[in-house]
Structure formats: C-alpha cells, structure tokens
Amino acid sequence: MAADVGVKNKDARNTLLGFLGIAALVLVLLFVQSLATAEDPLRGVAKFNGALTLFAIWGIAAVSLNLINGTLGILSLGHHGFMLIGGYATGLLILSEDARNRILVSGRSTMTERTLGLSVHSWFESLGLDALTTDDTLWLRYLVAIVVGGLVAAFAGLIVGIPSLRLRGDYLAIVTFGFGEIIRLSASTRLFAPLTNGALGFPGVPQRFASDQLLWPFGLLALTVFVMAKLKYSSYGRAMEAIREDEIAAEAMGINLAYHKVLGFVIAAFFAGVAGGLWVSWLGGVRLDFFLFQLTFFFLVAISVGGTGSITGVLLGTALVVFIRQYGDPLEQSYAVSTWAQLVGVVFLIAAGAVIVYRSARRVRPRVHPVVYLLGTAALVAILLGLVAPSFDFWQETFRGFGMRAIFLSVLLIVIMIFRPSGIVGRSEFSWAWVFGERRDQPTEEERAQDAWLTNPELQRRLAGDEENLHSIDGDSKGES
C-alpha cells in the first residue's frame, strides 16, 4: 500500500510540475508578444516572433508526420500534399469577400469557371461564412476554416492510407511521395483551377491569426501535442508501435493492421491540414510553391534529427530546423571567395577532429582514418590560400552561398543517420521521472539478489539442493552433447 501512495504522490507532483511548466512557457510567450508591439527598429523581436510562429506551425506538421513515421513506422513522404489540401481549403474559407472579388475580377483568373454546375463564388456565399467579419466573430470563421481544412486533408489521408494496406517499406514511401506530387501537380491543372486558381494561387489570405497572435498556432500546437501524446500512450498507440516493430507479429496478436494504419494516416493528415491552414495564413496567400517536397524534407529532418517516434525529440528537431531557417541567412550572403575557402577549411578541420574524437571514443582502429589526412590537408591548403588571397585577383571575387542552409540541413541529416540513427533523444520522451532520475527498469538491491539467484543455476543448485532436478540436468546435457 505504501508503494501505491508513493505512486499517487508522484503523479500529483508530476501534474503540478507539468502545469507550472506550461504556465511558465505561456508567460514567456506573452512577455515576448508584449515586446513585439513595442518599438522595434531592428525587427529582432518581430523576427523572433516569426520564428516562434514557424516553430508552432511546422511543429504541428512534424509531430503529426511523426505519428506515421515514428509511431507507425511507415516512411511517409507525402505530408506536403496533405498540407496543401488543408491550406487551400482554409485559405478559400477565410478569404474575405473583397479579396475574392478581386481575384474574380482580375482577367487571368480561372476561378470564375464553373464546376459541378455552380460557381465557386456562389458556393462560398451559400456557406454563410462571409457574415462573420467583425472582430468578435472572425475567430469562429477561422476555427471553422481550420477544422474544415483538417477534415478535407484527413479525407485525403484516408485515400493515401489505403495503399499502405498492401505495400511495405520503401515501396510505400515512394507511393506516398507519388501521392504528394500528384496532389501538387493536379492542383495546377484546369480541372481544379476553379478552386486553386491554377499555379498562381491567390493572395489576400488574412494573416492575422497566424502572425500577430501566437495564441492560434501555439494553441493548436498544444492540441496536437496533447492528442499525439495521449494517443501514443494509449492502447491504440501501443498497437501502432507494435505494427512498427513487427507487422507480422502484430497481426498475429490480433491487431487489425488495415484499421490502425489508415487511422494513423487520417489523424496525421488532419493535423497536417491544420498546419497547412496556419501556413497559408502566415504567408498571407496560397501558391503551389509554398507546398514543395522541401517541406516534407524539413519535417523529416526534424523527426530524424530530434528522435524518431519521440514527440519531445521532434519538437527539439523542429526548433533546430526553424532556427537554421530563420537565423541561418548570413550563410547565404555574398562573401569573398577567400572567406569561403577559409570557412570550408575550418569546417573540414572540425570534421576531421570529430572523426578522430569519434573513433577514439569507440576505440576504432586506426584512430586517425586515412580520410582525416585528406580532409586535414585540404583544410590547411584552403586556409593558407585564404591567407595569401590578397595577392590573387580571383580570390577577391564574391561568391553567394545560395542554398547553404539546405545543404547544412542535408549534411546534418546524413551525419545523424550514420552516427546516431535514432536521433538525438532517441525514442525516449521527456518526463519528470527522468528529470528526477527515477527509473523503474532498474532492480532494487533485493531484486538484484533475487535475480542473480534465478538466473544462475550454480547458485540455485547450492541453495535449493534439488536432487531430482540436478539429475535431469545431467541427463539432458549428456543428451545434447
């Protein structure tokens, strides 16, 4: 009974700490928001605010993708397609009447065309959302738009989930990628142009609810994390993890593979659609090239670098990706070639050092891999050339580091895949028990003694002196040899 009370106390403590932690986070966010409205000539706070919003939006998408990739163990590469569907749906629903009229008037627009016997315009009027224009009621419109966006995406998830019943592994990954691309490529065709306005998309999506207020993105992120965490630790989450571990065994244990896989796809697609809605609102418009495969790649980096299957890890990874995207722009500016040469040299040196440290730590021989000499020499040459550069003309040319951030992310992903395939935090989640160092999977002193007795036949023989057993053991071992 004493143990039970201990568990209850710890639960209460964890809940309390959880609330305190969330409250502290909210306070910090509110504080930052209050700063954003103040004078900000260097736009530092605004940029930080933008990074936070991006973190929340991408966090929703990455955490939902993690349900498929991490929990269900299916590599899905079509998340940008779900986001696109949710984004377009939400965008259309929150587009103000004026903005919609402007699109209709502009001659190049294809949105005037009729499909299914009614024009898109009248269809939207009939929804009655246009009545919700005042500040008091706008939130309801946003909410409806977000939910509808999510539901439409969830329906797409249902369709994409169906091939997962027949396919496995890399084939399935390719099919999800194919679906994502089909969604993107067909959105630009005339068939869907009345809804999407072709490849041009449409501007004028209200930005307010994604950029000014952190409430929307973070509220929805909290909802996503809540649902995903509860789902993961529920019986359904365990069933999905079982599918990840071993499909055949999961089916042999009574788990309905089809249902759980499609369920995973649908839930993940719903939240991807929500993220898509926030994403178009943040960008203030809808265009096809907001939904490139690149997005899915970023989420994949977030998941794989942070920790596949761990929500904590995914959020950590998202923070990293967003940080590089928002604050990595100095990498993409023009510098003299000599500067770049020195930079490359330093990176090579660091890489060489890392290889030596890694191999020493793992006691791999030879400690200094031949490649290290190569890297080191190249680095030294580059740095030296950078130093003598003033004497040479072509070293003075400037060179723009176009795409450096993406290169950095790809290299990071490759390095993580090679050296720590489970990601930085692995599968483990943040928990207060972990903070306080309480581990349930370690034996107490008493249990350890008992365990030693159980697993050591010698000890057991001496203690128990079970003659009959001894006899049969001898007989057995003779038979085996």
Binding site: S234, S235, A239, E245, A252, M253, I473, S477, G479
Partner: protein
C-alpha cells in the same frame, strides 16, 4: 465439439507439397505435440491455422466454426494465438507493453475516448494491466517488478521466449500454438518451461498445440504426439507408441541397413 479440427488440408508452394491431406483433432484441455524432421511442414501447419497462409483445399474448424480465409487478426479474435519459432517480439517496447498489446483487440473504446482518457477507458486499461500481470506471473518473478519496464532487447533469450508465451496467453486465446517454446534454452530452463506448459493447461485452462524438437519435453507433457514427414502425418498416438513406430524411426534416421545398429529413438534432443 473439438477445439480444433483440421480435415484434409493441402498446401503447396509452387511445386512443393508442404502439407498433404492432413487431418488433426485437438480436444479441449489437451496438449498435442507435432514433431517431425526439419522441413516436415510443422511451421507451415501453424501458419495455416493462424491464417498467414490459406490452405489450397480442406477445412480448418475452431470450436465448430471454419476459420479458413479469415485474416490472422480475426482468428486471434476467435481465440487462437501463437508464438513464433524465431521470436517476433516487439523488441523496442517494454515487457509490459508487449503483453498489453495483444489485449488491444478486446478493447471496445474508440481511439477518441482513448485520447480523452474517459473513465470507461481508464477502467479498461487497468483491467488490461492486471490481466497482463496475471499472465506474466505464470513465470514466477522472472518477468515481474523492474523487468516489466525493461525493453525486450535487454532480456535474455529464455526470458524472451517466456515473454512471447505470456504475450500469446494475453490475447485471451483458448488454443495456444507454441512453436518450439524451449528453443535456445538450457536444460534447466527447459525443465522449467515444461512445468509451466503443464500449469498453463491445468491452471490456465488452455489447450495447447506444440511444435518441439526436444524429445524429453515432448515425452513428458504430451497427451498425444503427431508426427509429420514431408507434409504427411505418418504417426499419431501416445509418445511411447509413436517413437517406437518404425515409420517414425525411418523418417528421422533413414532406413536401417543393418538391424543391429541404429540409435534408440528415445534419445533426447536427437533430431536437432
């Protein structure tokens, strides 16, 4: 009504006839062992019963209902569970999770109430936990206390076998198909697992169909032994009777050239 009734089942892979018109009856509360040389079709038989393969012809009935053409998970719903010869545990999950997962198919809450943790779901979860502990306690303290929270990959081979048996029991099945439950165990552990299988029948009320190579285990607990060779049933009956059957001896050791020679078939662990 027999627990399991197999009538004239055939299964071929391309040109290879894996199972040829097999008949088998398992009564409630029996322990039946299936033995036979490597490649005799024992694991194929398990795969047929559990729905991994579909028989080419013939019928398989479980408690009077045909289970041919049903999916593996539907067959588990009906009450047949199995273990795997080469261990298919959920390696990265804890022992407790491994034993909770097979109870998922009995859960009647929706995923939504599971996310919201409704009282009904909580109660169900508590029940599942207690049921899991009950099944794990069949193996004494080996899988209890701190072991519950250890991931399977840190367990010893024998403990993994035990976890797998506990996992199969936790599905709530009435008929258990154990594919070499003592493979990789030392003699001491084999003796223990023999006792446990007997207790599973006596205390747990399970009916057990067993594939095993260790003859002392088979001899000790089987009510009946079925011998397969090249997919055909060549003998059936009590252990002593079966192992002295000349056809069985021939299947294991080949035809006797000289009648004076030839090892005694009772020798344990021979057909490895």
């Amino acid at each position: 009504m027999a627990m399991l009734e197999i009538e004239g089942v055939n299964k071929a892979f391309g040109g290879l006839q894996a199972i040829t018109s097999l008949d088998l009856r398992v009564e409630k509360g029996e322990i039946v062992s299936v033995i036979g040389p490597n490649g005799a079709g024992k694991t194929t038989l398990f795969n047929l019963i559990t729905g991994v393969y579909r028989p080419d012809s013939g019928n398989i009935q479980f408690q009077g209902r045909s289970i041919v053409g049903k999916k593996p998970n539907q067959i588990v719903d009906l009450g047949v569970a199995r273990t795997f010869q080469n261990l298919r545990l959920f390696t990265n999950l804890t022992v407790l999770d491994n034993v909770l997962i097979p109870q998922h198919h009995k859960l009647n809450s929706t995923w939504f109430s599971a996310v919201l943790k409704t009282p009904a779901y909580r109660r169900k979860e508590q029940e599942m936990r207690e049921f899991a502990l009950e099944k794990l306690s069949f193996f004494g303290p080996r899988l209890m206390s701190f072991r519950l929270y250890q991931p399977v990959y840190v367990l010893s081979y024998a403990n993994r076998r035990r976890t797998e048996i506990a996992r199969a029991m936790a599905t709530g099945a009435k008929l258990l198909l154990l594919d070499e439950p003592s493979a990789g165990m030392n003699p001491k552990e084999t003796t223990e697992i023999t006792q446990i299988i007997r207790r599973m029948r006596d205390e747990g009320g399970y009916t057990i169909l067993l594939v095993e190579h260790k003859m002392n285990l088979v001899g000790e607990i089987s009510d009946r032994v079925v011998v397969l060779d090249y997919g055909e049933k060549i003998a059936e009956g009590a252990y002593q009777q079966v192992v002295n059957d000349p056809k069985v001896i021939e299947a294991y050791l080949g035809k006797r050239v000289d009648d004076d020679e030839g090892a005694s078939p009772e020798e344990p662990g021979l057909p490895r």
